[in-house]
């Protein structure tokens, strides 16, 4: 006999109600339990949630009162508007709306999308925490044992996230309005807050939906954040297309921005027209998505997604055959992601070249950073800018490079090496493999940087910088990156407790290079680092001896590290 699903479900409810008296009291006890569930969640998050909300509020509000003092004269404002209309800036922040470039318009372009991104991230993490993660760790099982019904947990989670977003919306809107900055009216401010709240809630709903489908909490997080990135990019594509009237595509490319929550909240034209329809659309969409999540949640088994986890291979491919191929396999994903990241940053930096002279004239910071010696116009400006940007890129590229070598240390920490080295595996060969991958990565990243910057410069400049110059500038800093590889190998091999030194050195370098000239620190502060000691190539001459010495030191450090690694106890 086949019992229809609804019938069994009803039977179950009748049983419940019979045991707890009338239907009304059942309902009452159920809501009572949901309140208890929410109290329980809040207690778990008594630190996590306030900190996140505080961070969102800070990002959304603190810059508002600073705007007038940061951007002074009317001339500054005009130049800034020109610079911020650059497609690269539009892609990063959004479109400038309105005829007059008020502080409100500036603020909406600078801060709205970034603040919304943070609020959305908070919502994703919150929902995953209280649905799949609780399920996987068995915390939910004892709650489900209470008479709360299958959807109670999801209901409690989404209710709390709604309340949290409402809080963020009201407080941030009120604070911005209270600052009373010129051009930022009360209604616009509240709408700004509401836009943050709504974009947070739609990501809570999206995550609740993904949670039903994905195989695990890790997968849910991955998909949700990929979606966050994708919607951000869609907005960028749509916004750039909307601003670029010369490109006449068959379909209105701005549509891309309209299917992204971030694109939609921009269409409120905050502090200009103050439309509220985009927020209503988003909120309605959130409710539909949430409803879908409830339906699916009632359907699936606790602990499992609707899609089974994708199975791995039953046999290893012929490529996975030794310490080197294992090392490659372990770092592969991270490396590909980093090459992409470095390329995107390089393109973003490179697109600055087109507006170089504008920036230079408008921005005191840039003038300080780049220096004024021998600069008479935009053309003379290029060399120091290329040198500085390439230096910063080299420091950024050193992060994944060091990460590869330090991976072996984290393998040791996670106690995977005992079993691994029980195979016929030489320690020197293994660490050498990680060093080799790091070395190749250093090359690849420097090439990526040069190519990315050159491509962006080529598109945005009338007289583009040659690829040759870019390549030479990038390769100029390669010895410094190689030094970092040597240092990392040395630390992993000889002083595994001190691998954090590599990060301290990189952080210091970044600080010294970026902030040193702004804060007026003496020159030797940057010269202390392997990156700062090298000449700034197109401005200064290339110094082969110095580069050679740096390489030899790197090799010596690596050699000591390899020998020491052979001789020390593993954890």
């Amino acid at each position: 006999m086949v019992i229809p699903r609804a019938a069994t479900h009803n039977d179950y409810h009748h049983l419940r109600q019979a045991s707890s008296g009338s239907a009304l009291s059942a309902l009452r006890s159920s809501t009572h339990n949901i309140t208890r569930l929410m109290a329980f969640m809040l207690r778990c998050d008594r630190l996590w949630l306030p900190l996140w909300i505080l961070a969102c509020l800070m990002l959304a509000t603190v810059f508002a009162p600073m705007l007038p003092s940061m951007i002074g004269s009317a001339q500054d404002i005009a130049i800034l508007r020109e610079a911020m209309s650059n497609p690269a800036m539009v892609a990063m922040c959004g479109i400038i709306y309105g005829e007059s470039y008020t502080y409100g318009v500036m603020y909406a372009q600078f801060m709205l999308v970034f603040s919304a991104l943070l609020v959305a991230a908070m919502n994703i993490l919150f929902v995953v925490r209280h649905t799949r993660k609780d399920e996987e760790e068995g915390r939910l099982e004892m709650l489900v044992a209470l008479p709360v019904g299958k959807n109670a947990n999801l209901l409690a989670t989404l209710t709390l996230s709604f309340a949290g977003n409402l809080l963020i919306a009201l407080i941030s809107g009120t604070i911005i309005a209270a600052f009373g900055v010129e051009g930022m009216g009360a209604f616009g401010s509240l709408l700004f807050g509401a836009a943050l709240g709504v974009s947070g809630f739609i990501f809570a709903a999206i995550t609740a939906l993904i949670t039903q489908v994905a195989a695990s909490s890790r997968a849910t997080l991955g998909i949700a954040f990929a979606l966050l990135g994708a919607t951000y990019l869609l907005r960028a594509v749509g916004d750039v297309a909307a601003g670029n009237v010369s490109v006449d595509a068959g379909v209105d490319a701005e549509l891309f921005a309209l299917i992204s929550p971030f694109g939609l909240i921009e269409r409120c034209h905050l502090f200009v027209d103050n439309h509220s329809w985009p927020l209503l659309v988003l909120f309605a969409a959130s409710l539909v998505l949430a409803a879908l999540a409830f339906i699916l949640n009632a359907w699936r088994d606790s602990g499992a997604g609707l899609i089974a986890p994708c199975a791995g291979r039953a046999h290893a491919s012929a490529l996975l055959r030794g310490p080197w191929s294992l090392a490659w396999r372990l770092v592969r994903g991270t490396l590909i992601a980093w090459v992409l990241i470095v390329f995107i940053i390089a393109v973003a930096y490179g697109s600055v070249f087109g507006d170089m002279s504008l920036f230079y004239e408008s921005n005191d910071l840039y003038r300080l950073m780049i220096g004024t010696a021998g600069v008479s116009g935009a053309a003379d400006l290029m060399d120091p800018v290329v040198a500085l940007l390439m230096l910063i890129m080299a420091v950024i590229s050193a992060v994944p490079v060091v990460l590869v070598v330090v991976r072996l240390k984290s393998e040791e920490k996670r106690k995977r090496l005992e079993l691994f080295y029980s195979g016929a595996v030489s320690r020197v060969y293994t660490l050498g493999g990680y060093a080799l991958i790091a070395l190749l990565l250093a090359f690849v990243l420097q090439l990526t940087t040069a190519l990315g910057m050159w491509a962006a410069a080529w598109m945005s400049m009338d007289n583009p910088i040659t690829l040759g110059l870019m390549l030479k500038t990038a390769l100029n800093y390669l010895p410094a990156v190689l030094f970092m590889v040597g240092l990392a190998v040395f630390l992993v091999g000889a002083l595994p407790q001190a691998t954090v030194l590599t990060w301290l050195l990189l952080a210091y370098t970044f600080f010294a290079v970026y902030m040193g000239s702004l804060l007026g620190l003496p020159e030797w502060t940057t010269k202390l680092t392997p990156f700062g000691i090298l000449p700034r190539y197109p401005v200064d001459d290339f110094e082969p001896t110095l580069a050679g010495v740096l390489c030899i030191v790197a090799i010596a450090l690596a050699a000591i590290g390899l020998v020491a690694y052979r001789r020390r106890d593993l954890e």
């Binding site: 890790r218 791995g312 291979r313 046999h315 290893a316 079993l419 016929a424 106890d569 593993l570």
Partner: protein, 307 residues
């Protein structure tokens, strides 16, 4: 020939002395049991043998080669299973097994698949989703399908269910039949008793006793509790009966004279004297009989009492 040998093995971690002179000697083809309480130094000894850590003093040799300096050569012919198996989350079980087989010298692809089936392992699952027992199975399959000369196993069954433990015992027996040697550290005395030819007991970094199972027999006493309708006079005088305790008070009065009139008694019994006891009980109308093997702790206790 001695396949595995340590002489005066000492290991210090800063001030703490983990090993204080460990002497072991294991012959080819033997299954060697290595038992001791928590923190006794079993895993530390094994890590020295694997060349993961270096002995502060003393020698450790496998196949006649130095365990530290010739580690890579030695590892071509050994297989290791740790008690706590940590694997790479994004590799599947099958991939890990194949990787380890490729890291060693010889292996049998057909036997690998057979073992996966016998251990009821799903090789397509990612290691991050395996339970503790399943991760252990991955290590066991990787070890036993390697055609090794020496298997070093550190509490290899700590996460296995009884059925899988049975299959593990079969695998050990098959490895022995194929001429390999097995070094087995374990907390499960019955497992060690069942499998091992010789045993060493380690405590606080020292070997306190070692020998063949027959030599150590006197150590293993079962705890017996029984209830009989007839009086049990003379039970205390039986050879191999120790620590006799009466449960009813009337009996306790006469216990000193060696005459037992009570019905419920408990005592420990040397394993060698079981048939003498059964003969004694044959016509005494036994209603209830429980015999429990000694725990590792009890073994240690009886060992110290013997000194």
């Amino acid at each position: 020939m001695s396949v595995l040998e340590t002489v005066g093995l000492t290991k210090r971690f800063g001030k703490a002395q983990a090993l204080a002179g460990v002497d072991l000697s294991m012959e080819t083809g033997e299954i060697y049991g290595f038992i001791g309480p928590n923190g006794a130094g079993k895993s530390t000894t094994i890590r020295v043998l694997l060349g993961i850590i270096r002995a502060s003093r003393g020698v450790a040799r496998i196949f006649g080669k130095d365990a530290w300096s010739d580690a890579v050569q030695i590892h071509e012919r050994i297989a290791y299973v740790p008690g706590d198996v940590n694997l790479w989350n994004n590799l599947s079980g099958g991939e890990v097994i194949d990787l380890f087989l490729r890291l060693r010298k010889g292996h049998d692809r057909h036997y690998r698949n057979e073992l996966i089936e016998r251990f009821d392992l799903d090789p397509t699952k990612k290691c991050g989703t395996y339970s503790k027992g399943n991760r252990q199975k991955v290590a066991l399959v990787a070890a036993f399908s390697a055609d090794a000369d020496l298997y070093i196993l550190d509490e290899p069954t700590s996460g296995l269910d009884p059925l899988m433990e049975l299959i593990f015992r079969q695998c050990v027996a098959e490895a022995k039949a194929a001429g390999a040697s097995v070094f087995l550290s374990s907390h499960i005395l019955s497992e060690v008793e069942h499998l091992c030819d010789r045993i060493s007991i380690i405590r606080q970094g020292r070997i306190i006793d070692s020998g063949s199972l027959a030599e150590m027999r006197h150590l293993t006493r079962n705890k017996v509790t029984l209830e009989a309708a007839a009086p049990l006079d003379g039970l205390a005088l039986l050879p191999g009966v120790h620590d006799l305790v009466m449960t009813n008070e009337a009996a306790a009065n006469t216990a000193g004279r060696g005459a037992t009139t009570g019905n419920t008694v408990s005592f420990s019994l040397d394993n060698t004297q079981t048939s003498a006891l059964l003969a004694f009980l044959a016509d005494r109308d036994v209603r209830h009989f429980v015999s429990t093997p000694p725990t590792l702790e009890e073994l240690f206790m009886s060992h110290y009492e013997g000194r």
